[in-house]
Symmetry: C2
DNA sequence: TTTATATATGAATATTTGTTCATATGTAGT
DNA sequence: ACTACATATGAACAAATATTCATATATAAA
């Protein structure tokens, strides 16, 4: 079947769908999360969206560990763990304290623990 | 500085770090989440780790919408929305009902709403 | 059964991201 | 200052993923 050159079709800068409930849209269009906030929130979940970081979070939900303990516990290189801890730090999911040469990590606060636990519950209930 | 050929270095199949707290490791090594569960949980968070899907979740946290409403509301193509709804469905985050030609989506349950809200709270508190 | 419209999906491309390797930084002890 | 060791990080490569485009499926009406 032949298709017209897209350039020939009259430009329609608006939405191409016809089934919209205009009243609903008008009501909610101003209540939706901003793009900036959506990006921010997506980044938080993205941080939790990696199995290595989940295993780190799981360990830290049970006790405080130094970097090399985590490497041993999860059987991964120190470098890989350290990279991932930085990602977790950037999302304020973990905090750390230095003691001599070692750096000990733990969950940032109880709120983070609850967020993690809610996720666990969700996958276990289905 | 010259580096020996890695092949010449004696193979050490164990961990290369020396600072491990062996007793801690022994205590927790059997309590860490399994790889399968970690993958599963990471997939859940990964699903939430995209700004388009966050905006869909945000809309659905406020009301039920059909696919083309979401496309209009978020100013995206029907195809893109539909692809992302499938991802959300696969993680049991949204459910849908068909009514004639239209398909209406909503959050799967209150637990999902709580998970989403916890995330929102986290980014707003910092 | 033909047409119109709402939604779903396979393939392809462009972008993002996790790990490794090599190396840098930071801290403590000699 | 020098050495040892714990942790951090830049660059590069491999793997995962979001959107677009084209098209398929599903439902309803004529």
């Amino acid at each position: 079947m032949e298709v017209e050159n897209p350039k020939d079709i009259e430009q329609n800068p608006v939405c191409e769908v016809q089934c919209v409930h205009s009243d609903l849209i008008r009501t909610y269009v101003n209540q939706i999360i901003t793009s900036a906030q959506a990006n921010h929130l997506a980044d938080l979940f993205k941080t939790l969206g990696d199995s290595t970081r989940i295993r780190i979070m799981d360990a830290l939900s049970k006790a405080e560990f130094c970097v090399c303990d985590l490497a041993e516990l999860l059987d991964m290189s120190q470098s890989a763990i350290s990279h991932q801890l930085r990602v977790l730090r950037n999302s304020n999911l973990v905090k750390y304290r230095r003691e001599g040469k070692m750096v000990y990590y733990s969950l940032d606060d109880d709120h983070v623990l609850r967020l993690y636990s809610q996720g666990l519950e969700h996958i276990n209930e289905k």
